[in-house]
Symmetry: C2
DNA sequence: ATACTTAGTTGTACAGTCCAACTAACTTAG
DNA sequence: CTAAGTTAGTTGGACTGTACAACTAAGTAT
């Protein structure tokens, strides 16, 4: 064994990628960025998750690095940022052994409407994928993010982070349904949401062509609520 | 901007750590290793999670690296190995910016009884901690592992991986209770386990000083089962 | 007024947990 | 041989929350 063997080990490339979700046009969408068309870069011109190398001089930790990359592309700070997992192997990046730390973020509708970085664009989720072929193993990471989001939406209040500051219960239910891609039962949904210490009514109504609906807002600084059951007990 | 700026970025140290759980002496225990007492190593003599640097020449991917480290310390292959998350920051390792990919593994009782590496030892979980002070941020990682395990045990069949090849329903319930650190209701537990397509009876009974109990085994190659509810609805 | 649409409630059925009491099968003490 | 003790396993009633469906409420449009 040589001295200081470990520090002399070659180190993997280390990146952070962020899967940024929002509801836009009544659909679940994800933010992608187009890779530069430089020949020295892998996957030139392909779409990829926003992300990049950890800056060990500037980034305090992985989450700060993820928040920075999110802010770079959207200009906003996400109300919800969760670590998704890490992917590392010899093959995933043609430049060599690399590992990425993946996060996923939920942006409220109004925040997702703002200006984006020039290379960024929203894409609708279709199934667990997105239409363009993604760089690296980002299709796999995106699929894991969609699965994780859907599975948590079964028993948590995560979609509340996708809502504007004030919203009605039918709008909240619609957001759950968009994420889950299946209809939910109205009365059970209302019972569950109102029983949770999650939202509170505001003194206004949403007026439309039909019966007005009560407006609610998230109780302040609210962490996601965990429910004791999934929505539909399985088969 | 210099050319090839990113590849010339200094890279973080990259490690993999494994939180290995087993039931021993009717308690949830975790495997720790004692760090070498070499002066050039950080935390000499302290207890730490088994792990170490990724070998980019030998390890195909992160999970293979975790499985290798598990095998090094216990000699066995875990029936359950799940990624827990990653921790990376400028401060967690005195040698510089480092990131670790943490996994957690569940060993069946009989596999956890075998010979260990010389520097390895089992420790009981007390609360969400272990008695010795751990190196690096391993106390935080261990705490996250215990929380993840407990939370998943509320609605999955994970403890089945901690059981020997044949076991009774009361033994399985006891394992759930050890992990959750709280008693469960007998009839609801049996209903749930038998309704799940998880275990099957074998043609033998566990004989003891009292009424014999039916022996079961896991249905083969069984992925963990997810239940639609937690055990005790909160509130 | 009447039809239409969406918001919100109500009632019955059902699934599964909670709690408690019960029966079953074995060992040990006397 | 019987009685006591222990653990395995079942049963039944109360309760919680979803499923399904029908209902009422409040607005707009014709």
């Amino acid at each position: 064994m040589p001295e200081k063997p470990e520090l002399d080990f070659p180190r993997p490339l280390t990146t952070v990628d962020v899967v940024i979700f929002a509801i836009r046009s009544d659909a679940l969408q994800v933010l992608l960025v187009q890779r530069p068309r430089t020949e020295t870069e892998p996957f030139p011109g392909a779409w990829a998750l926003p992300g990049g190398f950890v800056d060990i001089a500037g980034d305090r930790d992985l989450e700060a690095c993820a928040a920075r990359k999110l802010k770079d592309k959207t200009g906003v700070v996400s109300p919800y940022l969760e670590q998704l997992g890490s992917w590392g192997s010899a093959m995933r990046d043609p430049r060599g052994w690399s590992a990425t730390h993946a996060y996923f973020a939920l942006l409220p509708e109004h925040a997702a409407g703002g200006p984006l970085a020039a290379d960024a664009q929203w894409f609708a989720i279709e199934g667990e994928k997105v239409r363009p072929k993604l760089a690296f193993d980002h299709a796999e990471i995106l699929q894991a993010a969609v699965q994780r989001l859907r599975s948590k939406v079964e028993y948590t209040s995560l979609p509340a982070y996708l809502m504007p500051p004030e919203f009605t219960l039918p709008e909240l239910q619609r957001t759950f349904e968009i994420v889950l891609d299946r209809p939910l039962e109205k009365s059970a949904f209302r019972t569950r949401m109102l029983a949770a210490d999650l939202i509170e009514p505001v003194a206004r109504m949403r007026k439309g062509p039909n019966r007005p609906a009560q407006l609610y807002r998230l109780k302040k600084a609210k962490a996601p609520v965990f429910f004791a059951r999934t929505f539909n007990p399985p088969g």
